[in-house]
């Protein structure tokens, strides 16, 4: 059986991305698929103004969903700005090391359930080393222009799909937006004969 790609657009600033990550990275255990990580810059850092109510609602709703999923949520340290960007850069380094699953799970849990401030070296070091990454290499990654270009390419790829939000999964050009849409993707994987 050939392995098919699923593109996974992810933001470290998105609590819904955090909720989605364990289930997305578990898909290859069940189906003949490969998760193609695409870290993207948060919407508010791309010039989109977001109403205050959206932020409040997202936190409350994520708490309810996290409880239903049995995932911890809070304490939080909002990484918007430098923290989110540094995680994106280290994420590209983690892809090269074959440790992106580990880094995404470590960083997103740190941000959304442990209040780790990833804008600081101490915070970023904690989540990077927990994922099995070298700290000096991770720190160097935060200033690597090639990684920055890859992140911007992922944003462009999302926009080319005429899409905007995260988490988003793309399988055979079909878009599944939202941590609660993984259940809609799975029947497509079964229909494609990818159930292992």
């Amino acid at each position: 059986m050939s392995v098919e790609p699923i593109e996974y657009f992810f933001s470290y600033r998105s609590p819904y991305s955090y909720l989605s990550a364990p289930r997305v990275f578990a898909l290859p255990e069940k189906y003949a698929v490969e998760i193609v990580y695409r870290g993207v810059i948060p919407m508010v850092m791309r010039g989109q103004s977001v109403p205050r109510e959206k932020g409040i609602h997202t936190l409350r709703d994520t708490k309810r969903e996290a409880d239903a999923l049995g995932m911890p949520f809070g304490p939080v340290y909002d990484p918007v700005g430098e923290g989110a960007m540094r995680c994106l850069m280290v994420g590209e380094y983690a892809v090269e090391q074959g440790l992106i699953k580990e880094f995404v799970l470590s960083a997103s849990k740190g941000i959304w359930a442990e209040a780790v401030d990833v804008s600081t070296d101490a915070g970023l070091k904690t989540v990077a080393e927990r994922a099995g990454l070298s700290w000096p290499e991770s720190l160097a990654a935060t200033a690597n222009p090639e990684y920055r270009a890859r992140v911007e390419a992922s944003v462009a790829a999302l926009e080319a799909l005429e899409h905007w939000g995260v988490p988003t999964l793309v399988f055979r050009n079909e878009i599944f937006w939202g941590q609660d849409r993984i259940v809609d993707l799975e029947p497509r994987l079964v229909a494609a004969g990818l159930l292992g």
Binding site: E53, K63, I175
Partner: protein
């Protein structure tokens, strides 16, 4: 600076997260309402041109039946984030997404095209002209079924006038009696900025994707389904 950072990035989120979910005061208020023979209300802000609103209306009507809970359907036309550059993409995606969500409940949406808000504004005016009550909600559910499940074009006003007669009785309200502006203001006051949004005891949910959570909340409040 450090204090401000901590407040906005850590303390503020902590307080908001702590406010999520059903609290003791909500349960007490619901119990008091039951003791006096009252009924609970779920307010649903929705739009006829929004396929996701159709999922919410049809799903909530089903899930609320058998409970002492009224579905109060409140139509709006204008909604969404200001200056949203992705509004057209969102409209197109919402039809695809709604079709998949409806399929989870075994419902087939036959309409595949986006509807412009202007095309269904008259329906929102009709419903907003009446005090919310069960017959108006029955019309609302029937109308979104007609549009999204049966694929009837909203331009066929006579079809929807006949639906009004069957569900509410008589002819639809005349022009100039609608309260769309008041509905918009009420939605803003409650918090939601987009449809479909269900409000229940100070919490709100994007109803099309939180139908189970709304049911669980009602159960927690003691508004259980009767056998």
């Amino acid at each position: 600076m450090a204090v401000k950072e901590t407040l906005t990035r850590k303390t503020g989120p902590r307080l908001i997260i702590a406010s999520a979910g059903v609290k003791a005061r909500h349960k007490l208020a619901a119990a008091k309402l039951r003791r006096t023979g009252g009924r609970e209300q779920v307010e649903l802000f929705f739009a006829f041109d929004d396929a996701l609103s159709a999922v919410a209306l049809i799903g909530l009507a089903d899930r609320l039946s058998g409970r002492d809970v009224d579905l109060v359907s409140i139509p709006v036309v204008e909604r969404g984030m200001d200056a949203d550059p992705a509004v057209e993409w969102k409209r197109a995606h919402s039809v695809i997404d709604a079709t998949r969500l409806a399929a989870r409940d075994g419902i087939t949406f036959t309409r595949k095209e986006v509807i412009r808000p202007e095309a269904t504004r008259y329906l929102a005016k009709w419903v907003s002209a009446r005090e919310p009550h069960r017959t108006v909600t029955a019309f609302t559910v029937a109308a979104v079924r007609a549009i999204w499940v049966e694929g009837i074009d909203p331009i066929q006003t006579e079809h929807f006038a006949a639906l009004w007669d069957v569900t509410v009785g008589g002819t639809p309200p005349g022009p100039g009696t609608h309260r769309l502006a008041q509905n918009q203001a009420l939605m803003k006051k409650r918090g939601p900025y987009e449809t479909p949004a269900a409000c229940l005891r100070g919490q709100w949910f994007f109803a099309h994707e939180r139908l189970d959570r709304i049911e669980e909340t009602l159960d927690e409040l003691g508004w259980v389904k009767k056998p």
